[in-house]
Amino acid sequence: MSSASVPAILRPFQLIGRTVVAAFREVGRMSAFAAGVLVACVTPVIYPREVLRQCLKIGFYSLPVVGLTAVFIGAALALNIYTGGSRFNAEQFVPNIVVLGITRELGPVLAGLMLAGRVSAGIAAEIGAMRVTEQIDALHTLSAKPSRYLYAPRVLAAILTLPLLVIVADIIGVMGGYLVGVTSLEFNGSLYLKNTWQFVTDGDIQSGVIKAAVFGAIISLMGCYQGDCSKGGAGGVGRAATLAVVGAAVLILASNYVLTSIFVRVGL
């Protein structure tokens, strides 16, 4: 029904309806895209050379930004916990809470958010540029499916490397807390490390690593999807990069809550 044939009083409802339908359509399109890429990730043909190239770009080159984020967050966390803990004489729990906060929450979430900015935008811009310069059409004419040649290697690389990055971030984050603890808060170094090591459990590490793998999938899929949908030249590519970052960041935070709820229920 065209808007002209709808009585004026009903037009707001028509607008709401259109918005809801468009939102569902977008979710459906995104889900179908993600399903296609995930199937391509686990069925032949997989291009190991491309996966390795993407592991380097997504994982290795993200080490500096993830490491810097982790060290400063670990240090700030230690200071905050010390300040808060001193209100009820619980300063001695700084190492325990730092390692818990870093491994279960801040390590994966902050690494995920940093990679949403660095990797998701990069993937969206690269694939968007390929879309508007007909390189993706060229792939089709050369009998190569973009889902296998372009998207699956990026998604696999992100799923494989983000957990490794998070483990590195965990270690560096704890060391950030250690440095502040020893130099500013007068903790004994060996005691700080002993407390940390005794308190952290396999479950703490595992929950962070599982979150990281899920965040890796979200980051790479959002970048690939928005890049694939881009049109209209440089403006379209820029819009795709922005949408990829915003979408990935929101989905990371939402899925973090869902995953944490599940881990709490299953006792991880």
């Binding site: 390929m130 310069t133 059409d137 060229a138 089709h140 004419t141 050369l142 009998s143």
Partner: protein, 248 residues
């Protein structure tokens, strides 16, 4: 070899193709001309399955092309030179040229590189260019690399989308010569879309004019100057006045 029957395509409210009927025989070189925005690129994208027609059918070698194996067969036996080259900027020149050999046909990288250098020689590019990045090449060289990529797998039908756009007249003429020579050597059919009348006269056996979403004239290249069709006359002579309204 290739036949389009009653192909329609619209983008939103804009109806681009309104029933395109087109055939090209084996070994024939057909050039499609027409004003900007008349749907020439959309026509060949529909033929290649890059866009799905709203109505109409595409036949290749007498078989209906409808996704799956028929589309894979069409793409395996055809080559395409895109307007901007569409070279993969993350790959070296030889990797671009031999892309189909490596990723589709499973040819080893050493053999693929050797065949890529042979294909580059056919378009008069030296072996030293094989190791360059595509961004380091001039526009004319990029077109030649794209041509090498289009011919390396010995296609039976090649599509050329504005092969001389953006090139100076001398380089454009050289690219036209290469196209004619390579199509002849392969014995392939060719469908070219262009605005460049010098290209039309050099490349075409037959010319078809696309206007308002339909083929309104088709004939041998020798009939271009005395077609008796006002649209063709206006286009060939590049006049603003006539039945075709300039797209300003």
């Amino acid at each position: 070899m290739l036949e389009l029957r009653g192909v329609h395509k619209a983008f939103g409210d804009k109806q681009v193709l309104r029933g395109v009927d087109l055939t090209v025989a084996p070994g024939q070189s057909l050039v499609i001309i027409g004003g900007s925005g008349t749907g020439k690129s959309v026509t060949i994208k529909c033929a290649l399955g890059l866009l799905a027609p709203d109505q109409g059918e595409v036949f290749f070698d007498g078989n209906l092309v409808k996704g799956g194996k028929s589309l894979a067969d069409l793409r395996r036996r055809t080559g395409m030179l895109f307007q901007g080259g569409a070279l993969f900027d993350s790959l070296l020149v030889w990797e671009n040229v031999s892309f189909a050999l490596i990723y589709r046909d499973g040819v080893g990288r050493a053999e693929a590189k050797k065949r890529a250098i042979e294909a580059l020689a056919k378009v008069r590019l030296g072996a030293s260019s094989a190791e360059q990045r595509t961004a380091e090449l001039s526009g004319g060289m990029q077109k030649r690399v794209a041509l090498a990529r289009a011919i390396i797998a010995k296609p039976e039908l090649i599509f050329f989308d504005e092969p001389t756009t953006g090139l100076d007249p001398i380089t454009a003429d050289a690219v036209n010569d290469l196209i004619v020579q390579q199509v002849k050597d392969l014995g392939a059919a060719a469908i070219t879309i262009t605005h460049d009348m010098a290209s039309v006269r050099k490349i075409a056996d037959e010319v078809a004019m696309l206007h308002e979403g339909r083929i309104i004239w088709r004939g041998p290249v020798s009939a271009l100057d005395n077609s008796g069709d006002a649209h063709i006359d206006q286009f060939v002579h590049g006049r603003a006045e006539g039945p075709i309204q300039p797209s300003l």
